[in-house]
């Protein structure tokens, strides 16, 4: 039996959906000029930029969404299954700051930091996908979105959770992926990436978000709606009310997306949070935020759609008991909820900061969650009587063949980061931060980059240099020195 965590029963989900369908009709959903014709063509009435989406149109759109799809790794192997109760984790995304590995103080992230994070994430089996985790402050802001993806594609073979920062830059990101995959058709057939697209709460599909939805649908590259109601501020204060708003934002987004291209893959996802009434902050580690994520995903699962949530992030500003308590709890609950992609590992300080050390600690929490999902299995014909028949009351279970053959299935062995007493516990035994730093170094030294086929590699570099130069970028930080054009040199 697979263990589960559930917050809503079927009747409650139906009630949530009924109100969500009401909301998208009245008051309706603010949409951008880019999609007005498309929506009107489907019989949706639009007045003053507000679309009033009839139940039937929305339900038809929901009906054409694929219930599952895969993201592929560089070799073309299906590596992430969006659908059913599959559970995967990836690091949090688009962070501006990083906890400096030496000082553990937050500072602006650089290309070199993202490269390190990608290399570490590549080595962690707990993470099924990469994310375009940080914005590199050493490249011009206008190319910040695609530059992250370039570095991820260069250093990783795993699928990628990414996203564009504008309507036009989406095409640069898609072009990078197409080069890496061997063409737009290859990308469509075996997508390597999913793109986050965010509505603005409440119920507003901005020009940029609307355009991303339509363009992704037409490119056949999966989109992931990241709806983020903030309960009490940009959404109703009750958890249930915010779940309704989340559903309405997702359904309206899916309607736009499916009208552009029926059958295109899209994910019911989000990063909802409560709004802390003392500080106005949006704590990702609050249990109510986790409850929102789980409840929102349950509604998506009820509709048979692939799901996503934002968990495994803590709110403290340094690596401490608070952030890891928050991250561990949400990793476990997200996994038990059967959410297909859980983003957020490595992040702290209300998603304002990434930490590679936290990422390796979170990976252990994720491993525990993954072990938990395997549940308690009847692995032997008799559960206990047969082994007792062998040992009687001596209790020599350690000597038994069954013990030796089954212990690896039953027990997960964490890395040395988790103190199970392997190391001496004398004076000066390393604390969790030091153990995490050691783990990061271990993973980095074990990492080896695998090159792309040389023609694709050259095309990728040439394309990135051309696009970078338009923004005044010299060289390709994190990949090539500025004088690459004359004398190619990897760093």
């Amino acid at each position: 039996m697979r263990p589960r965590f559930q917050l809503l029963d079927g009747a409650f989900v139906e009630r949530i959906l009924a109100e969500a369908f009401q909301l998208i009709q009245n008051p309706g959903v603010r949409v951008a000029p880019y999609v007005v014709e498309l929506l009107r063509g489907a019989g949706i009435e639009i007045e003053d930029g507000i679309a009033h989406i009839p139940d039937a149109v929305a339900r038809r759109a929901l009906g054409s969404v694929p219930h599952e799809f895969f993201l592929y790794d560089r070799s073309g192997r299906p590596a992430v299954h969006y659908g059913g109760d599959s559970v995967h984790f990836d690091p949090g995304s688009s962070c501006l700051n990083i906890l400096d590995p030496e000082t553990q103080q937050a500072r602006a992230a650089q290309s070199a930091d993202l490269v390190r994070l990608v290399q570490v994430a590549e080595m962690l089996p707990q993470l099924a996908a990469q994310s375009t985790a940080m914005v590199c402050n050493d490249v011009p802001p206008e190319i910040g979105d695609w530059y992250r993806l370039l570095l991820v594609l260069w250093y990783s073979e795993k699928p990628v959770v990414t996203g564009a920062f504008s309507a036009s830059s989406l095409h640069t990101l898609l072009e990078l992926l197409a080069i890496e995959s061997g063409g737009a058709d290859a990308l469509r057939n075996k997508p390597r990436a999913v793109f986050d697209v965010c509505p603005s709460p409440p119920l507003n599909w901005s020009e940029f978000a609307s355009q991303n939805l339509v363009d992704l649908a037409r490119a056949g590259v999966p989109a992931e709606i990241v709806s983020m109601p903030l309960a009490g501020a940009t959404a109703p204060v009750t958890l249930a009310g915010s779940v309704v708003q989340h559903a309405a934002e997702c359904i309206s987004g899916i309607t736009i997306h499916q009208l552009a291209q029926p059958g295109a893959p899209i994910v019911w996802g989000g990063a909802p949070a409560i709004f802390d009434m003392r500080t106005g902050k949006t704590p990702m580690g609050a249990i109510e935020t986790v409850m929102l994520d789980v409840a929102c995903a349950e509604v998506g699962k009820h509709l048979g759609l692939p799901t996503h949530a934002y968990l495994v992030a803590g709110d403290g500003r340094v690596i401490d008991a608070q952030v890891e308590m928050e991250s561990g709890i949400s990793a476990v609950l997200g996994a038990l909820a059967g959410i297909n992609m859980i983003s957020g590992a490595g992040m702290l300080d209300f998603l304002a900061c990434h930490s590679i050390e936290k990422l390796v600690i979170d990976a252990e929490a994720i491993a525990s969650a993954q072990r938990l999902l395997e549940g308690v299995e009847p692995r032997t014909e008799s559960l206990a009587t047969a082994v007792f028949a062998q040992t009687g009351l001596h209790g020599d279970f350690l000597k038994l063949k069954e013990t030796r053959t089954l212990f690896r299935k039953e027990q997960y062995f964490p890395s040395a980061l988790i103190d199970r007493g392997l190391a001496d516990a004398g004076d000066g035994a390393p604390g969790i931060l030091e153990r995490a730093q050691q783990r990061v170094e271990e993973l980095l030294s074990a990492y080896e980059r695998r090159a792309l086929p040389s023609d694709r590699e050259q095309e990728l570099i040439a394309f990135a240099q051309r696009e970078g130069e338009k923004a005044g970028l010299e060289g390709l930080p994190g990949i090539l020195q500025p004088d690459y054009a004359r004398e190619p040199r990897l760093i």
Binding site: S94, L96, A106, V135, S200, T234, F275, R278, K281, A352
Partner: protein
């Protein structure tokens, strides 16, 4: 008894009761109480009390919004009376506020505006997605003391720097204090872009605005123009 009246006014703010606050203001006008007395001895202490309780975690943002609403209701009655009498409230300062270009998030910014207004600042809210030039034009038009720039996104906080640059370009930078805020913003970021101050939440934004006004007054004393 004026003391009882002041106390009731103060309480109407603490309770976040706009109707009571408005009724008490109307009664004050009817009985000939000086509007400035009502404001300074009745309502303003109520708002200060709310600020203190909020700072100690005893009141919450929805309470504070209700108190600000009550303050607005009282002022809506009393300010026209002040005008009639040809007197003016001494404002704590003139603030031009907005969310930076490319960013449409307004909760934080609106909250700051509400609290600044409730604490005696004259606030002009430019809304969301505001380009640097618009901040400049408004600041010049109103002879603003402070420009407040909000950003919620990691991708738009860079535009806070753009507002400062626009003020510099327009030759206004030395006359206005710039305060920045928003979820991804930090004190370090504020220092980096050359802002005069950073506030982590709406209540600290009020304290910061007061502090910036003090700095302005002090420098004006030192360098009379």
């Amino acid at each position: 008894m004026p003391d009882d009246t002041f106390s009731a006014m103060r309480q109407s703010i603490i309770n976040g009761a706009p109707e009571t606050a408005s009724e008490l203001a109307q009664q004050a006008v009817a009985t000939g109480m000086a509007p400035l007395d009502a404001i300074n001895n009745g309502y303003v202490p109520g708002m200060q009390d709310v600020g203190d309780q909020f700072a100690h975690g005893q009141m919450f943002l929805p309470d504070m919004m209700a108190s600000a609403e009550a303050m607005r209701a009282a002022l809506a009655v009393l300010e026209p009376e002040l005008k009639k009498q040809g007197t003016q409230r001494t404002m704590a300062g003139v603030v031009v506020l907005g969310t930076t270009k490319g960013d449409i998030h307004e909760i934080g910014k609106t909250l700051v505006g509400t609290l600044l207004t409730a604490h005696g600042f004259s606030v002009h809210d430019l809304g969301v997605d505001v380009p640097g030039e618009k901040f400049v034009t408004k600041a010049r038009e109103l002879n603003a003391d402070i420009v407040g720039v909000s950003a919620l996104l990691t991708t738009t906080m860079k535009n806070q720097k753009g507002v400062i640059e626009a003020l510099e370009k327009a030759g206004l930078r030395s006359q206005v204090k710039v305060m920045v805020g928003g979820a991804p913003v930090s004190r370090r970021w504020a220092d980096e872009i050359g802002a005069d101050g950073y506030a982590k939440d709406a209540m600290s934004a009020v304290a910061l605005a007061r502090q910036l006004m003090e700095q302005k007054t002090q420098s004006a004393v030192k360098e009379p123009s």
